[in-house]
Symmetry: C2
Subunit: 111 residues, 2 copies
DNA sequence: AATGAGCGCTACTATAATCGAAGCATCTAA
DNA sequence: TTAGATGCTTCGATTATAGTAGCGCTCATT
């Protein structure tokens, strides 16, 4: 499956709109989790794997390739790291944590 | 596949952390796109399907069920609508559009 | 009352993504 | 030279998604 990038058609959209490519990318399994785990600093392939509860290395490697092609992650001496672009993305996503706490609260009321 | 909700283990995490449930939910195919298409107002099942370029109704219905269970979307007379919770989520995601434009620019430089 | 168009949705088979386990090649330290 | 860690690859089995067809319903028109 091709890495979704701005300007190219992505899963669920042929517009090439950057936001759609982003949704495609982030929507693949483990992508968000990988980025999430890298927020706290560099991690080796296996450390990352452990942190994600033992994902299969095949899928993880596929995701890491995509993330490298997207310039969100790179592989340095210390291990896999967020690029500044990736770091910025994660910061942009920060408000989601607050939102998801509210979400949990609302679901608790109803359930 | 069970609907990911805060407090329950989700794909890629057993912590039950709201943010992980959110990532699981949003990470499934077409979920983001569906929410995206509903931003502009209520849409019937079939209108939504058309807007998404003809997704298979089976997957779409699965996603819609999940989104209803998550209280992000509901089905009213006018059709499917974002709840206030879902609307707020989409607004929280707004900065992503800006980010993804920057992202596209950076990728253009490199490529 | 029949026709047709729209609705939400289900059933089914086929394909594609993901899982899970095993293992390879390389490097470093003992 | 062995033991451990590294980044991966391969492969068979499982699960999710795609794609097509069509059901049962309602409503407006004829």
């Amino acid at each position: 499956m091709a890495t979704p990038l701005p300007g190219l058609p992505s899963r669920g959209s042929h517009s090439g709109q950057p936001i759609m490519a982003l949704f495609d990318l982030l929507g693949r399994r483990w992508t968000m989790r990988l980025l999430w785990e890298l927020r706290s600093g560099p991690k080796s392939f296996r450390a990352l794997q452990k942190a994600c509860g033992g994902v299969s290395p095949s899928v993880m490697n596929t995701r890491l390739k995509e993330l490298r092609a997207s310039l969100l992650v790179e592989n340095q001496n210390e291990g896999y790291v967020l690029t500044s672009l990736g770091d910025h993305l994660m910061k942009t996503l920060d408000p989601l944590r607050d939102w998801s706490r509210d979400w949990a609260a609302v679901l608790d009321e109803g359930g």
